[in-house]
Amino acid sequence: MSERLIYFDNNDTTPLLDAVLQAMLPYYTRHYGNPASLHQLGLEAEEAVGEARATLAGFLGAKPEELIFTAGATEANNLALFGAAAYAPEKKRHLITSKIEHNAVMNPVKRLEKEGFKVTYLEVDGQGFVSPDDLRKAITPQTLLVSIVHGNHEIGTVQDLKALGGVCRERGVLFHTDAAQSLSKVPLNVTDDLVDLASINAHKMHGPKGVGALYVRSGVKIRKIMEGAPQENNMRPGTENVPAIIGFAEAARIAFANFEADTKQICAVRDRLIDQLLQIPHTLLNGPRDHRRLPTNADITFKYIEGEAILMHLSMRGVCVSSGSACSSKSLTPSNVLTSIGLKHEDAHGSIRFSFSKLNTMEEVDIAVAKVREVVELLRSMTAFIPELHSETEGHGGGYYKKKKDEI
């Protein structure tokens, strides 16, 4: 059992590329100056950080001074939301978000709700899309900010930012997007997409952990959430994490240099897995099945069995996947994303996220699919309800499940 692990959990985090590590190492040992120091070593560090900032800003369609480096996307999301809310005038205390946000947006929004903000949680359609019309209707003169995730972490839905951003711009409200999953996976240009605030990070594109950034369109005023020295344009204190910032830019450089080829390969891997898994009876794909899906994501419901059990059995067989979003996988409540697109609780519990990077191969897909088949058959053979006995048409096991439980 010493075969190599198959890692299909890249929407959670990705392995660091060796080229990125090599770019980072000299900044740990040789160029260790503090960018704020006036001496040569400090200036070198400042220059390196400036170059990294320009690189990343270029890929985003932003100006370098519009990027604030943070310790990650969670901090960036918090900075965007609390930062904008702190400057909210008395009459602008309404926020709009969607029901499928990551906890790093959902939980700060909930805190603001507790502090007296009114919040509208927009419904999504069966594939996870927010409708620009719904958004337009939800905006009131009191609305301060709209926050909609770009690429969904669980079902891979990629929103039409430009359409949503257009509505926000037209109505004069701030538009924030959590782009942690989408940067370097699908096109994103903050200027064209009419975004005011965007959160990004490095570790989902083979960069280091512990670094991210918030794009803040020039002219947009937010208040910092941490105070201290005036680094990052006086928006984020603390000595810059120079090696990680260098790694962030290097990871982006590599990702964007090979964007088309990588995307094609990752999509091929994803589609092969989706096609093969959907051949297993009683399975369904969550989220869209076209170009509006993250290349890195496949989310499949295996009816009548528990996702948690699938995950464990796959892990024992050397395949790493996730059930629910990583940040809620320790809790027992079903994912809010899956129930929002209309899945029943028991189907949401039977869902598995397979997520890919350019390091995955077709061979891995074939091996993984065989193991998934094996595990699904095993688990279904142990379960008390057999869909074939079910009188309803295929697709909904809920009624039968209840009956069986009553019998027991």
Binding site: D9, M226, L314, C320, S328
Partner: protein, 378 residues
């Protein structure tokens, strides 16, 4: 030959620390929250670090909150410990780091208040002031064990005792103190303590907040359940491993490092005092070795730094924070220095890796540089 004397603001990382980090940069890349094999490996690694950090400071593992450094830990402590109360007062000295003073300032708009304790000419807190200021509105007190720029050691045990006798929460920033002292959170009687990897030759942007069990805290960020909900965001596992290793090395080598720093400090001081009109700030017998602030009246330290820089000798004028702000250091002005005096101040912070010869080299550049500057100013 180049010589670097700016170690408390940024320091090269110990090669043993990098070595410990590399397997986690390369290999164990999962997140501790995931339930598959790679995730569980990451969770085990982080738990191991938590236990090792706790052991270094006599805490229990659940009392350790990993952060993106000392600045975040200070912000978390000040905001997080004060805002669990609907209102209240923070007591801190005027020489606390900006990452303590600025969060306190920003809380004022929410109705919280700060009482700033004055310090004497050596940056020391007077316990009498503390006793007089503490009252029923005081919810939190914060004091750095060692004042970063000048190396003054505060009477931290007495401060803790006084604060705790009023039932007030006590936070201590041990960022610099960790380079010198044995840290036992139980005998110190602190409720919260900031630790930072950087002055310990660890990786940048990593650190921790020790938080005594059952102490209520409002997190700075919301999101995932990492760090028991007290600090959301994907754990920086390689950074955490680096911080833990640096802290352990510090605990193991504390005495040899202290001895070396003492020897270097003695030499630096005697060589600096060869310069007429040079004054060392807060030069008490208890000043921690290797952190030295001094001034030569009438000299612009910035000009001096540029001249040193050309000879590849790296020092600083006050904290980097002060240099971005182009403002006199708040520590020096709180000690009673005039803005002009503060502007003529120079900081040397040494590592145990510095050598006597580097100090001599620096002096051989410093002396003629000073002569030239003096000649220009007449």
């Amino acid at each position: 030959m180049s010589a670097y004397f700016d170690h408390i603001f940024a320091s090269p990382i110990d090669p043993r620390v990098v070595e410990a980090m590399i397997p986690f940069l390369r290999g164990t890349y999962g997140s501790p929250i995931s339930q598959h094999k790679i995730g569980r490996e990451a969770a085990a690694a982080i738990q191991d670090c938590r236990e090792r950090v706790a052991a270094c400071i006599n805490a229990s593992p659940d009392e350790i909150i990993f952060t993106s450094g000392g600045i975040e830990a200070n912000n978390l402590a000040i905001k997080g410990l004060l805002t669990v109360h609907d209102q209240g007062q923070l007591i801190a000295s005027a020489v606390e780091p900006l990452s303590v003073l600025k969060p306190a300032e920003s809380l004022e708009r929410w109705g919280y208040s700060t009482s700033l304790l004055p310090v004497n000419g050596h940056a020391q807190i007077d316990l009498l002031h503390l006793k007089r200021r503490i009252n029923k509105f005081t919810k939190l007190a914060s004091a750095a064990w060692v004042v970063a720029e000048v190396g003054t050691v505060q009477p931290i045990e007495e401060i803790a005792e006084e604060v705790k006798s009023h039932g007030v929460t006590f936070h201590c920033d041990a960022t610099i103190a960790a380079r010198y002292f044995l840290m036992d959170v139980r005998s110190l009687n602190v409720d919260a303590m900031t630790l930072c990897a950087s002055p310990l030759a660890g990786p940048p942007a990593t650190g921790a907040l020790y938080l005594r069990e059952n102490t209520r805290l409002q997190p700075l960020f919301d999101g995932g359940p990492q760090e028991m909900g007290r600090r959301s965001g994907k754990e920086n596992l390689p950074g955490i491993v680096g911080f833990t290793t640096a802290l352990e090395l510090q605990v193991a080598e504390r005495q040899t490092r202290f001895k070396k720093l003492k020897q270097l400090d003695k030499h630096l001081k005697s060589r600096l005092l060869e310069i007429p009109d040079l004054v060392i700030h807060a030069d008490l017998p208890s000043r921690v070795p290797g952190v030295m602030s001094c001034r030569v009246e009438g000299i612009e330290s910035e000009a001096l730094l540029i001249m040193l820089d050309q000879a590849e000798i790296y020092a600083s004028a006050g904290s980097p924070c002060a240099s971005i702000l182009r403002k006199a250091s708040h520590v020096l002005t709180a000690m009673g220095l005039s803005p002009e005096q503060a502007a003529s101040s120079l900081n040397f912070s040494l590592s145990w890796h510095n050598e006597i010869t580097e100090i001599d080299e620096m002096i051989s550049v410093l002396k003629p540089a000073l002569e030239r500057l003096k000649a220009m100013s007449y």
